[in-house]
Amino acid sequence: MPVAGLPLAAWTYVGTVVALSATLMATASYADVEWTKLAAMAVLFLVCDSVPALLSVERARVSLSFSACLASVVLLGPAGAGLVGACALFTWQRVALVKRVYNGAQFALCGFVAGLIFDALNPDLAAAPEEQILPFAVALLAYVTCNLALVWGILLLSKSATVRELRAETRLLAPGLLGYGSFGLLIAGIYGTIGAFSAVLVLLPLLVARWAFAQTLAQQRAHEATLATLCQAVETKDYYTRGHSERVSRGSVMIAEEIGMGRARVEAIRFAGMLHDVGKLGVPTKVLQKEGPLTEEEFAAIQLHPMRGLEIIREIGFLDEALTGIMHHHEKLNGRGYPMGLAGDEIPEFARIIGVADAFDAMTSTRSYRPARSVAEGVAELERCSGVDFDPEMVAAFLRALDKVGWVSPDQVVAPAEAQTTRQDHDDPSTPIRVSGEGAW
């Protein structure tokens, strides 16, 4: 949240929320609040707040302190929960003063509202925990809604986020908030028996889980970086195909998202796009660099590359569906592709997607035998081949996605004299490879 230069509307909004919350907190009755519990919860809040966030998106972080807030809703009632929320004022995170005050105010407000709701639904304080589940769930929902609404309000008014971005982030944050909030009930449930030890027992597994989440993220990044680097290493054989794998990967993801594929499959196709040409390494350099028509044998070596690719990555477990995509990405809808000559629906969905992205990138990149074509020319060529070489559904999806997010063509480069380039591009549908003694493929 940018601090300097907030619009007037945002300042008014901050002022209103802070004033409202201060008034509520000042007029609340503190007669029922147990001060030892309050101190314990406040300490818990601040300790949890200082450990790294469980869930972090660009504009918000969810830490375990959320569990402390919800525990205090059960243990302390509205006034106490408000005070615990106000502890956000004293967070150890490095936060600007306006944000500190605003966060303190909004957490206090949320705590107060959720506390009122919980008390109204659950008048009997000595009820068994399973009877408290429903009132707690309602209070939790109110807390999360209130929290998100207040935070999104300031982000919208200060123009640091659009509604679309916020909707996407809500989808990411809400399950986390609800989940971590609900652990508050567990802490509260046995707080009466073993005191602050309950927080340790509940939160320890969660801290361990957080460690594993962080490790997962780090490993995922490392994995992606390694994959991308190795693909680049394969591409060094031809100066002009640098970045091809990355762009095909991006194009395939565009199509996959456009046709509404699930997240796991989109991930798989991202890797499949990246790896679709690793088998090209098995094609001898002299074939790729040969000028003029290829002999049948040489063309067979090119046709074999999807199979060589498959040979390499067969052992990567997660790539189940991606494997068939890589193997068949040069099949054509009319059955004249390779390696197996599949036609129509026989061609796996992944392969039909990668085929479109692959051809489009090849056409819009520079080749040693021709300059890059424009995106418009590439689109025209795709449309021309749609239904013959490519699945019309995938072409249409790609064009829609192209309209939405655009396409970053590679730089118009001329290879330096010492760089390796090739004369034969198997991906380019507009310049088919010529094989001596036969018509064009």
């Binding site: 399973e130 005191g195 030890f197």
Partner: protein, 435 residues
């Protein structure tokens, strides 16, 4: 996936065939415990407090159903572990005293484990008996230590805050002791199976399982306290934290596995490109890891060594055409160093494998040079020797040729190869012949 699981299956089967003595001892102990528990149950005329026994048994069975494989081929079942600990440390059920003996805890845990394993067997996933035996023994240790105390701690009156803190202190101490015992046994088994030193194996086990052990112990205590105070309904609610942990670790393990598979697979691009002989990278990496273990490297270092060994020839991709013959040990020294440098440059680009890049860069450096500056890292020296051995041997298994190659490396070991590394290689090869 198919190929992957098949690969795993063969590995498991071969592990089966060479059961080590430590494994046999643990399994024997577990079997003896089960027999004793069943005999006791028969003598006792059945189970005391049937309802909690069934519910905890179901929890343990579910935990076994969702067990998972962590890096290093470690099978863990945090939910099952938490359930067994909780049952062993139960003081009461909602204030009603429970009177189950340690034998009953063993019996219930064993039944839950078997029930949770049946679905795995049904889909042809062979059970890891040694891992299950270890979990059972750990649960038994907790039960035997804590059950006698339970009668002293809970006398029918609700516990005061102070009594609870005493109980919690005992629970913490006992579950920590059980966890340490479990790690010791695991380290004994591992040090025997992969021929690592015990101290190193113990530290590896500690690093690999301390966090998960802490999480499942905490949940076990949490469930014990919550069930003691609020009854069995609380049990489900209070397993939520360990479910989160389990979910997180499952994803972590999956990503780790995928990463290794990717590096393994992509290291083969040099073979497909005709730069090196088929199987070279994999053979060098296996040999290197065995040597690294022999030389006392820890698991994290071994992983870096494995990555570096798999990718040690990746620099060849930057050459226009394969070096004739592909065997880098026979190529000119300048070419070797250029390949190492190019490879390291590729690996550095990942931005995450800096140590691996350093190992690859130094793989052609001689063990000792005239200037007396510090030599290459141990991992590089290992790869240098393993690579030379594999280049000269190929996939041949001829013993005489192997001995001749080894002699050649020994002759060079004053200058090119680290003598300690060459001797480790000799020991690793010796064992291979024996098998």
């Amino acid at each position: 996936m198919v190929a992957g699981s098949r690969l795993q299956a063969t590995r498991e089967r071969s592990a089966w065939q060479h059961l080590d003595s430590a494994q046999l001892v643990v399994m024997g102990a577990a079997a003896a415990l089960v027999v004793a528990a069943m005999t006791w149950l028969a003598a006792n005329g059945g189970v005391d407090d049937l309802e909690p026994a069934i519910i905890f048994g179901v929890l343990i069975a579910l935990g076994e159903l969702f067990r998972m494989n962590m890096p290093g081929g470690r099978e863990v079942a945090p939910i099952s572990r938490a359930g067994a600990l909780a049952y062993g440390m139960l003081l009461s059920v909602g204030g009603d005293p429970v009177a189950h003996s340690p034998f009953q805890v063993v019996a219930v845990t064993a039944c839950g484990m078997v029930a949770g394993t049946l679905p795995h067997v049904a889909v042809n996933r062979s059970p890891r008996i040694d891992a299950m035996a270890r979990r059972l023994v750990a649960a038994a240790v907790v039960a035997i230590l804590f059950r006698p105390l339970a009668d002293v701690l809970f006398t029918g009156e609700p516990l005061t805050r102070h009594q609870w803190w005493t109980a919690l202190g005992l629970m913490t101490a006992i579950s920590m002791a059980a966890a340490l015992a479990d790690m010791t046994v695991a380290a004994l088994i591992r040090s025997e199976a992969v021929r690592a030193r015990f101290g190193i194996a113990f530290l590896d086990e500690f690093r690999a399982s301390a966090l998960l052990c802490a999480a499942s112990s905490a949940t076990g205590m949490l469930i014990a306290v919550a069930t003691s105070v609020m009854g069995l309904a609380a049990l489900l609610l209070f397993t939520a934290p360990i479910l989160t942990t389990q979910f997180a670790f499952r994803r972590y393990a999956a990503v780790r596995t995928t990463y290794l598979q990717t590096v393994r697979a992509l290291s083969r691009v040099t073979e497909v490109g005709g730069y090196v002989e088929t199987g070279h990278s994999l053979r060098v990496s296996r040999l290197s890891v065995a040597m690294g273990r022999e030389l006392g490297m820890a698991e994290a270092e071994l992983l870096e060594l494995e990555y570096a060994a798999l990718m040690h020839d990746i620099g060849q991709l930057s050459l226009p055409d394969p070096i004739p013959g592909g065997a880098t040990v026979l190529a000119a020294p300048e070419d070797q160093c250029r390949i190492a440098d190019l490879g390291a440059a590729v690996i550095e680009q990942t931005g995450v494998l800096d140590m691996v890049a350093r190992i690859v860069r130094a793989q052609c450096d001689p063990y000792r040079d005239a200037s007396g500056k510090p030599g290459p890292p141990l991992a590089s020296r290992i790869i240098k020797a393993a690579n030379a051995y594999d280049d000269l041997m190929g996939d041949s298994r001829d013993r005489d040729r192997g001995a001749a190659v080894l002699d050649r490396l020994r002759a060079d070991s004053a200058y090119q190869y680290d003598p300690a590394v060459v001797e480790a290689l000799a020991r690793v090869l010796d064992r291979r012949v024996l098998r």
